[in-house]
């Protein structure tokens, strides 16, 4: 934990490259929290990405003394971590459902309209990888919004753009991603 605080502090001073260093730490913490939640009752109700991420932030850095800059980096890392957790979970279950043995789901096997919730996540993840190459800026917004669970207002604050830009870009991104997924599955 103090590791994270240290990294964040150095980020605040502009010393290090943040996300690469922050990600494994945040990931580990989120994974631990997710596992703890799953062990408890009503797991589905409490594993809200936003809640987990915010709680992780709170637990890791405690009070509100960290700078906004740090929060920005943190939420990027956290959304990425959340994405990994969800993907691992979805892959495993999807694989189980298809008779096991398969470590990865081949998206070409999936029928887009009949996708299970987990397959939704996998498809969107694949599409997001494509978008990351095409348009990294929009991809980051999708990451924060979809996997990070942030609201449009929070995304706008995080990316330093206007709320209207986020509204516009989010709708557009959904259309493009969906079209890509559909085209891949023709």
């Amino acid at each position: 934990m103090s590791n994270i605080t240290l990294v964040l502090e150095s980020v605040g001073r502009g010393e290090r490259k943040p996300t690469e260093e922050l990600f494994p730490l945040v990931y580990q913490e989120l994974r631990r929290m997710a596992a703890a939640r799953m062990a408890g009752e009503a797991a589905g109700h409490t594993l809200q990405p936003t809640a987990l991420v915010h709680e992780a932030w709170l637990q890791l850095v405690g009070d509100g003394e960290q700078t906004w800059q740090n929060r920005r980096h943190f939420f990027g890392a956290a959304a990425e971590a959340m994405r990994r957790i969800l993907i691992l979970n979805a892959r495993r279950k999807s694989a189980l459902k298809r008779g096991g043995g398969q470590s990865r789901v081949n998206i070409e096997d999936l029928e887009i309209t009949a996708a299970t919730p987990d397959e939704h996540i996998l498809l969107i993840d694949e599409a997001l990888q494509w978008l990351e190459a095409e348009d990294p800026e929009t991809a980051r917004m999708v990451l924060l919004k979809f996997f990070g669970g942030l609201t449009n207002e929070e995304v706008a604050e995080n990316l330093g753009v206007s709320l209207r830009t986020v509204n516009r870009q989010w709708l557009y991104a959904k259309l493009k991603l969906f079209r890509w997924i559909r085209d891949q599955n023709k």
Binding site: P49, H120, F146, E153, Y172, L175, F178
Partner: protein
């Protein structure tokens, strides 16, 4: 995003939000004028708009409720090849913390872990022990943990799980011990035992009383739900106990003004029980009435077996939609909800309430409907103001008296209607007047209601003030004095029965302001402090008076100083004379003031004459010296100050006072040379202290206010001596 994409995105966004196809075509024609390529691209994208939205909504639902299971957790571990270390580093089962042996881990909150533990002595019993989690023991978290423990310890109510003990582990992590409540959650208990509506209401009233008690101690629960209210049997009678009391409040950063944290704490909570204001992302402004809302949800569930909004539906919809529902959607009334159930569900629900369906429906219809709906009002100003108010109304229902809750009056409904249809009612004043007359309110009822409401309002104000004081205590513990000052400023009244912590918050803030030279704010806090100061011992109160006097003198508020002066002299008890007397002599005094002070001064003088065996302190002599000087008895003033200095008792501020009074008395007697030398002594001492910077100070080294006092005397002496003998002293 490149410019083309940006344009595409903008056009798509507008077009997607235009529902009417003709309008949409018209818009596209204008927006893409001459750019066939753009138009084709947009239209192609928009074709899939509905499908895309649906696809992402389903995706979000999957993310929101990812259906993770323990196997999945295992797979995550496998995939990353890491081992969870928590259990190795946290407290071990079977180990001991103080006199408690840990038996079993029973829960985990944001920053603490709860264990079932056994206490061996003085009595053998099982308790719940909560210890701050490893790695969470930062200074701030500990401070909050501690503040919350204190808040919990203040509560003493048969329906609230008690705090029994507190301490720190060997490694210094704080823990506290609570009464172990073994019970069934309240809804389950009621259903299993087929409690009828009346019995349920009686249990619920007890819960209200527990929450009221907490509110009066300044604690807001914020997470009232069936799993936090357990029913135990006590001599065969069911007793509900509220547990998990705002523990999250101590451990999560609820008091920071950062919306992210509030967002966090809220959505970790249980949406179905959350008040609209809690669901707001900017929900910092939570008060006791949020708990009233949650109580309303609990009552709803006890009566109908369902929450006003279905948890699953709320969760599936996503955060924004959830907020909107909680904020805008009117829940069905309990009787309507019951009526809309399917036949089998209705029969089951009724039988769990020991009633036939028609009877249950008719029971709920009317008063109970309105009571529940009043507690569930979206606008908290329209809810019951206090938990007691809610309990009283239910009691009125049980006693077949008219309840306060009622269907929205015709006037209210009219107002709403007018607001909705401004134009139609533009000339409808006459209609409204007719309706008001038509309401025919009984004057008697009106007054009775108003009385009840005023009482409720007063209780609420008190509860809110207590909440603010608790908050201020926490700010002080975090070193946020400006925030604490701001919070204390908002108090509606001087607290009538505050805790020691509450009192010390006023003192700490006043002191901090004074040390930083912010005299006006310091004066406000100290003036409030001495008005409530009756919990500490008399010596401490006297010191508070001294600080207050000093601060008021610095703040230059002459009227407030005069008021303070009168109050100090009037309230002075024998044990406080020494301190109060000198406090009241800081500035020159008028003839009537002299007369008022004389009895105190005479008493002090007779007590300060050195006698065999009993030693008189320097601080006991200074008030007499100051008194003599103010009286114009300069010889006596010199004598007393010299006597004080001869004690060599090493109270530096006191010595400074003595030199300065001596200097002034000498000067008045015409001993200019001595006066200048003594003034220099006093000045050096005072200036040295202030050059080093003022701090809280200790009794031996003199408190900060002793030094401010001495500086004031220095100014007086300097004006008198330097000002008069303006000629430079020949070397």
């Amino acid at each position: 995003m490149n410019p083309e994409s940006q344009l595409e995105a903008a056009v798509c966004f507008v077009a997607a939000n235009v529902q009417d196809p003709a309008l949409r075509t018209q818009f596209l024609e204008q927006a893409c004028a001459g750019d066939a390529q753009l138009r084709a691209a947009v239209e192609e994208l928009l074709l899939a708009h509905g499908d895309a939205e649906k696809f992402f909504a389903e995706g979000r639902a999957a993310v929101n409720a990812p259906d993770l299971d323990t196997q999945a957790a295992a797979s995550i571990q496998e995939a990353t090849g890491e081992i969870q270390q928590d259990d190795l580093t946290d407290e071990q089962i079977g180990s001991r913390i103080g006199r408690y042996t840990l038996l079993q881990r029973i829960g985990e909150g944001g920053c603490g872990t709860v264990y079932l533990a056994e206490q061996a002595e003085p009595v053998r019993r099982q308790v719940a022990l909560k210890v701050i989690k490893l790695g969470m023991d930062t200074k701030n978290v500990i401070a909050r943990f501690e503040a919350e423990r204190q808040a919990l310890a203040m509560m003493d109510h048969p329906n609230i799980a008690r705090v029994l003990d507190a301490g720190a582990t060997e490694t210094g992590r704080p823990f506290f011990v609570m009464e172990l409540v073994r019970g069934t959650r309240i809804t389950k208990y009621c259903d299993e035992n087929h409690l009828d509506t009346v019995q349920r209401l009686e249990l619920f009233i007890q819960v209200c009383h527990a929450i009221q008690h907490a509110h009066q101690k300044g604690v807001i629960h914020r997470d009232i739900k069936p799993s936090n209210i357990l029913v135990t049997l006590h001599d065969g009678a069911p007793v509900p106990k509220v547990i998990d009391f705002g523990i999250a409040k101590a451990t999560e950063g609820r008091l920071t003004n950062n919306t992210l944290f509030t967002a966090c704490e809220q959505f970790v909570g249980t949406p179905a029980y959350m008040s609209p204001e809690q669901a707001e992302i900017t929900g910092l402004d939570i008060d006791t009435r949020s708990d009233i809302y949650s109580l309303g949800v609990l009552l709803y569930e006890l009566l109908t077996g369902r929450t006003p909004f279905d948890t699953n539906v709320l969760m599936q919809a996503g955060l924004d939609e959830m907020r909107r529902t909680l904020r805008e959607k009117e829940p069905q009334m309990p009787s309507t909800m019951i009526t809309s159930l399917r036949r089998t569900e209705l029969t089951l629900t009724a039988s769990q309430r020991h009633a036939e369906p028609p009877k249950l429906i008719s029971q709920l219809k009317g008063d109970l409907d309105w009571i529940v709906m009043k507690a569930l009002e979206k606008d908290r100003n329209r809810r019951y103001d206090t938990a007691n108010g809610l309990a009283m109304d239910i009691q009125r229902y049980l006693d077949s008296e008219p309840v306060v809750a009622r269907p929205p009056s015709r006037l209210y409904r009219l107002q709403k209607l007018v607001r909705r249809n401004n134009i139609v009612f533009a000339a409808g004043g006459a209609v409204a007047l007719a309706l008001v007359i038509g309401l025919g309110l009984s004057t008697w009822l009106f007054f009775r209601e108003r009385e009840a409401r005023e009482r409720e309002a007063q209780l609420r104000a008190e509860a809110e003030d207590r909440a603010k004081i608790t908050q201020a205590v926490m700010f002080v513990s975090q070193g946020k004095y400006d925030d604490a000052d701001e919070t204390l400023k908002q108090l509606k009244a001087v607290p009538s029965n505050p805790t020691l912590d509450g009192v010390s918050a006023f003192r700490s803030v006043g002191e901090w302001m004074a040390i930083h030279g912010r005299w006006q704010q310091a004066a406000e806090r100290y003036s409030a402090l001495i008005k409530i100061d009756k919990l500490d011992n008399v010596k401490q109160i006297a010191l508070d008076y001294e600080a207050c006097g000093v601060v008021l003198a610095e703040s230059q508020d002459h009227e407030a100083y005069a008021d303070f002066w009168r109050m100090a002299v009037t309230n002075c008890s024998t044990a406080q004379i020494e301190t109060i007397l000198i406090t009241c002599l800081e500035l020159p005094v008028s003839q009537p003031q002299m007369a008022a002070l004389k009895p105190l001064a005479d008493h002090q003088e007779s007590n300060s004459v050195p006698r065999a065996k009993s030693r008189v302190s320097e601080w006991a002599m200074m008030p007499v010296a100051a008194w003599k000087y103010r009286c114009g008895d300069y010889d006596a003033a010199m004598e007393w100050s010299q006597r004080a200095l001869e004690l060599k008792s090493k109270f530096p501020a006191c010595d400074a006072d003595a030199y300065l009074i001596l200097a002034m008395a000498d000067y008045q007697r015409g001993h200019n040379g001595e006066a200048l030398a003594e003034l220099a002594q006093g000045r050096q001492s005072v200036e040295t202290r202030f050059r080093a910077g003022l701090d809280h100070g200790k009794a031996e080294a003199s408190y900060w206010f002793d030094w401010v006092f001495a500086r004031r005397l220095l100014q007086e002496a300097s004006a008198l001596i330097d000002g008069d003998s303006a000629q430079p002293t020949p070397e």
